[in-house]
């Protein structure tokens, strides 16, 4: 499925060999017509920039289709040059350049350049002994990135044959090996090659020659986990809800009666308990999920359905009952959030709207209100934060605007001043009703909802600047929570650290050590005072998926060891490598 250059049309290649054109209309797509249908699955598509032609890759051949007439104007076999022609040659990825050149990547590991009008092969580069699976062309069409099934990606560049000469040819320039498995998708930004693999990693490899200054963009980035909350916690009921792609798991946490010193492992007096596994019906992935603070409601949403369940614990048994007649949502939820009193559910929805559902005993639900920004919004809401007193709700939409609603009168209260970065997490302080916001550039803000302005602490942080080490981290804060017993504490975490931000302590400057916990532990109590600063960072748990404070003394932390899912991956393509 590929959209045309102007974004007005969508071409979809089908298993039966047809290519369908859809018109993009406000609010959806509309079928326009079928293009010429030929035998053979369509595996990849590419539009010409002008929108006049589409190239479709199949097994053993690709064809060029004139969009206006819908006719196939050229069909080129790609396996002619191969002696081992008995094997079928799958065209896994294809691109139609504005010059009319077709670039194909096939299962023989070749990247080939064709003049489709003549039907001739201009250049052929065998980049890999195994399949080339994906390719992407830079905006200027002078560079191509190819992903292969060995986990390697290659860059091909259009370079002059002679220095300063006009004649140019494609040259394989840089090989990168950042994945262990198939590289299924690649993208070419102006300054970086981006690849996504079957090994559950997203890698951004900056092109150093395109990066002007040293900064966030100039560093290789690897992402293993989505920057979203996949675990939710019922604080009062001490339950954890884990969201997997096809099912949910509800666990009761264990407990202990012992106490001990730092680092000690205490024997649990009650073991954790797997209460229930809830499988989603159909092939769709679960998009978001939530458990209510009291632990009696569980909701989740896939791309097409929203489901709400009532959890009942009777003695040892746990029963789940689906709440009937849940109001139909179209489109379904982007984020779910229960209120602190577990009496209402907030559902983040498209076009900036938030639906408020009232939860009814013994197991019902009714639509109460839909909150919408007064100025309208085209993007969906993706983060929600209700206040503990049930008075306020903060909602972040895809345009990064944070709207605050008054829940008592279901009215829009204010907008947080715009900031040119995505919000990665936000939460409202239970006692002060200050909204704490973490942005993807690692900046932290505190916004007073009643006063509709940034707090003085937030201003102080901004004028002083955060510690350099803090700003140079590459994983964003994904969850914020508070310590009800100590209003000065803000608890945050990203994939690699958890941090207690103590507003009562001075901010560290660049010359002090940011991660000073191990240093502090070695100091005598008296000497610690001078070394203390606001950021109390613990890196003991990695990679960190979730952290929440259950009560004053109890912190729950969810780790997801990379080895755990690495071992579940299929075998990588066997490769002889020296030294490994």
């Amino acid at each position: 499925m590929v959209a045309s250059g102007t974004g007005t049309q969508l071409a979809i290649g089908c298993e039966d060999g047809s290519v369908k054109i859809f018109q993009v209309v406000p609010g959806g797509i509309q079928f326009e017509r079928n293009l010429d249908r030929r035998k053979g699955r369509v595996l990849c598509l590419s539009w010409h920039r002008s929108g006049t032609h589409i190239v479709a890759g199949s097994i053993d051949f690709f064809r060029v289709i004139d969009v206006a007439s819908g006719q196939t104007v050229q069909r080129i076999m790609v396996n002619h040059q191969v002696e081992k022609a008995k094997r079928e040659c799958v065209v896994w990825a294809i691109a139609l350049l504005s010059s009319g050149t077709v670039v194909s990547a096939d299962s023989f590991g070749r990247v080939q350049f064709w003049d489709w009008e003549q039907g001739t092969l201009a250049e052929s580069h065998t980049v890999s002994t195994s399949a080339a699976l994906s390719l992407a062309v830079s905006e200027k069409e002078d560079s191509i990135v190819v992903g292969t099934s060995t986990g390697a990606t290659y860059q091909l560049q259009l370079l002059p044959v002679k220095l300063g000469g006009l004649e140019k040819c494609w040259v394989r320039t840089k090989p990168f090996q950042f994945h262990s498995h198939d590289v299924r998708a690649v993208a070419h930004s102006s300054t970086a090659l981006i690849s996504g693999g079957l090994d559950a990693q997203l890698v951004i490899r900056p092109l150093m020659e395109k990066v002007q200054k040293k900064g966030y963009d100039a560093v290789l980035r690897k992402f293993t986990f989505p920057h979203r909350r996949l675990v939710s916690c019922a604080r009062k009921a001490r339950l954890l809800l884990f969201q997997f792609s096809q099912y949910l798991e509800l666990w009761r946490l264990g407990s202990t009666e012992e106490t001990g010193k730092d680092g000690e492992v205490l024997p649990p007096c009650r073991m954790p308990e797997h209460l229930v596994q809830l499988k989603s019906k159909g092939p769709e992935h679960i998009y978001c999920s939530c458990v209510s603070p009291c632990g009696t409601w569980v909701g989740y949403s896939t791309a097409s359905r929203f489901q709400l369940y009532r959890v009942r614990c009777d003695g040892d048994g746990v029963s789940l009952r689906k709440v009937p007649k849940v109001p139909k949502l179209l489109p379904p939820a982007y984020q779910l959030q229960f209120s602190a009193d577990s009496e209402s559910l907030f559902v983040a929805s498209a076009r900036g709207s938030v639906h408020v559902f009232q939860l009814l005993e013994p197991g019902g639900c009714k639509h109460l209100h839909t909150l919408q920004p007064p100025s309208g919004c085209s993007e969906a809401v993706y983060l929600l934060a209700p206040s503990a007193d049930g008075h306020w709700l903060a909602a972040v939409s895809g345009d990064w605007a944070i709207h605050i609603y008054n829940l008592k009168c279901f009215q829009h209260h204010c907008v947080v001043p715009a900031y040119s970065c995505a919000v990665s997490a936000l939460a409202i302080h239970p006692s002060t009703n200050n909204l704490v916001i973490a942005y993807s550039d690692q900046q932290l803000f505190e916004f007073s909802i009643p006063e509709k302005q940034y707090t003085s602490w937030s201003r102080a942080v901004q004028s002083r600047g955060l510690h350099r080490t803090w700003l140079e981290r590459d994983s964003p804060i994904t969850h914020i929570t508070f310590n009800p017993k100590n209003p000065a504490h803000i608890l945050l975490h990203d994939t690699y650290l958890l941090c207690i931000l103590d507003k009562s302590l001075p901010l560290p400057d660049d010359s002090t050590l940011l991660m000073n916990q191990s240093t502090l532990k070695q100091l005598p109590e008296t000497a610690r005072k001078r070394q203390l600063h606001a950021f109390k960072i613990c890196k003991k748990f990695q990679p960190l998926l979730f952290m929440d404070l259950l009560d004053e003394n109890c912190l729950v932390v969810v780790e997801r060891p990379i080895m755990d899912f690495k071992t579940q991956l299929p075998l990588a393509v066997q490769q002889k490598k020296f030294g490994t």
């Binding site: 730092d262 680092g263 492992v265 532990k521």
Partner: protein
């Protein structure tokens, strides 16, 4: 008597003395244009010594000479005590000419000569009543500039050194307050108006010779390059006895780069020519090679890898010649040495080392005494308790013996030489002719001993030995007694046993293992077996070759010689190395059993070296093809094997790492303290 001795950085080359009662009053210099040596004795007379080492010219001058400086391309320049300067050419024309007196009441403390463009420039410093003056003279332009050095409270200069860069004289002065000052003097073009006022030169502190409380009392200063100076002096650490040290300082970073203790004391003088220091350490003239890396902060703080300054220190066996008799005997032997020299390369001319102990009254014996008498005498000598110079004495004895061998082809004290070589820690430089004589006499055992024991055999000689060993017939070698310790433990004794042993694959490889990589199956199994599995040389030859493998060498120096190795011998040697390599690989620890058996590294190094040197020959030669292909297969198999090992190691390491990780329970309740 005054005498001067010609030395290289390796050894003394020659010795001359002036007549009784005469004193050499300034250092002898070499006239680079005529290769004559010019000596000054009794302040007045200059003698010129030609290359043939005879005094040829005497010159009576009208004024006292302070020093002669010799400049490449510029000819010698003579500085008189009165401050006058003449070039030697001018003096040769009119020896008795009047020499003007420039300085009055001042005493010359130091002088130096340099070339500035085509002009010789002479700089000297004088002292008068605590004041120091600097003179700069250009004798060819008869220009003269006088400067006064800025005074320093409670300190005065001890030592000077200078160099000229970009028309500026940089004068470095070592002061008695343990500091080095730098004085910059522009080389003035001759100005018309002579200023009457003498200019005062200001100085700036370049370096303080103190390191963490220790102060270096410098006596001598030498500039090494733009960032390094060497200072000889005694290091005074509070509460310890001062020790004499040679130190190299980095002036850019003000750090002590390196130092070398000289516990036997020095004369306080330090010379430096061509990246070598010369200094008198105890009774020995010591040559220390140094190498100044480009000055970098890393080097200054000692973080630079392989910074080896000074790295090599070699001793010239150069004892003070006190005993007149010995000098005579020394001179009487000169003719012999010179004859030898005329046959050999001039640069290899070797003069005798003269021992200073009275033990050597018996030296005359070496020339003509009967073998029996000689050996008795020598045994007496050897039985003596070791004294510091016994080593040198024995070296001298051996040299005298080899000389005799050379003169008298029938004379060769085989056993005695072997015994000496075996029991005494001799070195090549101590008796440079020994190995040459042994080669000539085909004394394989002696050569073996020398190769195994001498740390400093020139690569040329090592190569000569290798060639001799390889070219000798096995039949002849079998009659010779050599030490077989290094081979007896691993070599297959049953050489003639052609019967195949059952194939035992040890350690994962054999020639056959690699069949999938062979283009064709090994056609002549017999042949390939004999390459890898049985020794291509006899026991004796193997032992001798092992001695070669055991000797120390420098690749760059050995390589050009190895290129001359005849192809047949090169292949034989490679075959033997391949055999050793296979033998080594059979054992898991890749070592060969036995005493002095070659190590895997020595084998590999020689193999690389030989392939490097004989690359084209090996490629061209049909006989080598099979050997090379087998060798290649074997190496490939090894590389494969090790890569497999690498994999295992990687997995094991990962396991180790995982074991060390916090015991990752799926669920735990832990105490976490956050301060």
């Amino acid at each position: 008597p005054s005498q001067f001795i010609l030395i290289s950085d390796q050894k003394p080359l020659g010795c001359w003395s002036v007549k009784h009662g005469q004193i050499l009053t300034c250092p002898v210099v070499c006239n680079f244009e005529t290769h004559e040596y010019i000596a000054v004795h009794d302040d007045k007379v200059r003698g010129s010594v030609a290359e043939n080492r005879d005094l040829v010219l005497f010159l009576q001058l009208s004024a006292d000479v302070y020093r002669i400086h010799s400049l490449p391309h510029g000819g010698p320049v003579v500085l008189f005590r009165g401050g006058g300067v003449r070039t030697l050419d001018v003096l040769l024309e009119a020896p008795q000419q009047e020499i003007e007196n420039i300085i009055s009441g001042e005493v010359i403390r130091w002088s130096g000569a340099f070339m500035e463009g085509q002009q010789p420039v002479l700089i000297f410093t004088t002292e008068k009543d605590e004041d120091f003056f600097v003179y700069i003279q250009k004798p060819k332009l008869s220009s003269l500039h006088k400067y006064k050095l800025e005074q320093q409270e409670s300190a005065k200069p001890l030592c000077f050194t200078a160099h000229i860069t970009n028309q500026t004289v940089t004068l470095l002065c070592l002061y008695s307050n343990d500091s080095v000052y730098e004085v910059l003097i522009p080389l003035q073009q001759d100005t018309e108006e002579k200023e009457e006022e003498e200019e005062i030169l200001s100085k700036s502190l370049l370096l303080n010779l103190s390191v963490s409380g220790a102060v270096l009392k410098g006596t001598s200063l030498v500039v090494l390059d733009k960032d390094h100076v060497a200072v000889l002096g005694s290091l005074a650490i509070p509460g310890k006895e001062p020790r004499e040290c040679l130190t190299i300082w980095n002036t850019k970073f003000q750090t002590l780069q390196t130092s070398k203790e000289l516990p036997l004391g020095t004369s306080g003088q330090l010379w430096c020519y061509e990246e070598k220091f010369f200094l008198i350490h105890g009774k020995v003239l010591t040559v220390i090679m140094y190498k100044c890396e480009t000055s970098s902060l890393a080097a200054a703080v000692g973080k630079l890898k392989d910074s080896q300054t000074p790295d090599v220190s070699s001793f010239v066996n150069w004892n003070t010649l006190e005993d007149e008799e010995l000098v005579v005997s020394f001179q009487s032997q000169k003719s012999v040495a010179l004859k030898a020299e005329s046959r050999m390369n001039v640069s290899k001319a070797v003069l005798k080392h003269v021992p200073c102990t009275s033990d050597l009254h018996s030296i005359c014996l070496f020339q003509d005494a009967s073998t029996y008498v000689l050996e008795t005498e020598l045994k007496k000598l050897m039985a003596k308790a070791p004294t510091p110079d016994l080593q040198a004495t024995i070296g001298y004895v051996v040299t005298a013996l080899t000389d005799r061998c050379k003169k008298n082809p029938k004379y060769y004290p085989r056993n005695f030489l072997q015994e000496i070589a075996e029991t005494r820690d001799l070195s090549y430089s101590l008796c440079p002719d020994l190995m040459a004589v042994a080669l000539e006499k085909k004394d394989m055992h002696l050569l073996q001993i020398c190769l195994e024991r001498f740390p400093d055999i020139p690569e040329e000689v090592t190569y000569a030995c290798l060639k001799t060993f390889l070219s000798m017939s096995e039949a002849h070698l079998q009659k010779i007694d050599v030490n077989l310790d290094s081979v007896i433990c691993y070599i297959d004794v049953e050489l003639d046993n052609k019967e195949f042993k059952t194939e035992i694959v040890e350690n994962g490889f054999s020639a056959e293992m690699d069949q999938d990589m062979c283009d064709t199956k090994i056609p002549k199994e017999n042949q390939s077996r004999s390459d890898g599995e049985s020794c291509p040389v006899g026991l004796q030859k193997a032992a001798l070759l092992n001695a070669i493998l055991h000797s120390a060498y420098t690749e760059t120096f050995l390589l050009p010689h190895l290129k001359n190795l005849p192809a047949r011998q090169a292949i034989l040697f490679l075959r033997y190395l391949y055999y050793l390599y296979v033998k080594c690989s059979e054992k898991v620890n890749t070592t060969l059993p036995g005493i002095r058996s070659p190590t895997i590294n020595q084998i590999m190094d020689w193999m690389c070296l030989l392939l490097d040197a004989q690359f084209t020959v090996m490629v061209m030669l049909p006989e080598a093809k099979e050997l090379l292909s087998n060798l290649h297969k074997f190496v490939r198999a090894q590389v494969r094997f090790y890569s497999q090992l690498n994999k295992i190691e990687g997995s094991l390491r990962e396991l180790q790492r995982l074991n060390h990780l916090r015991e990752s329970q799926t669920y735990s309740i832990e105490v976490l303290e956050i301060i």
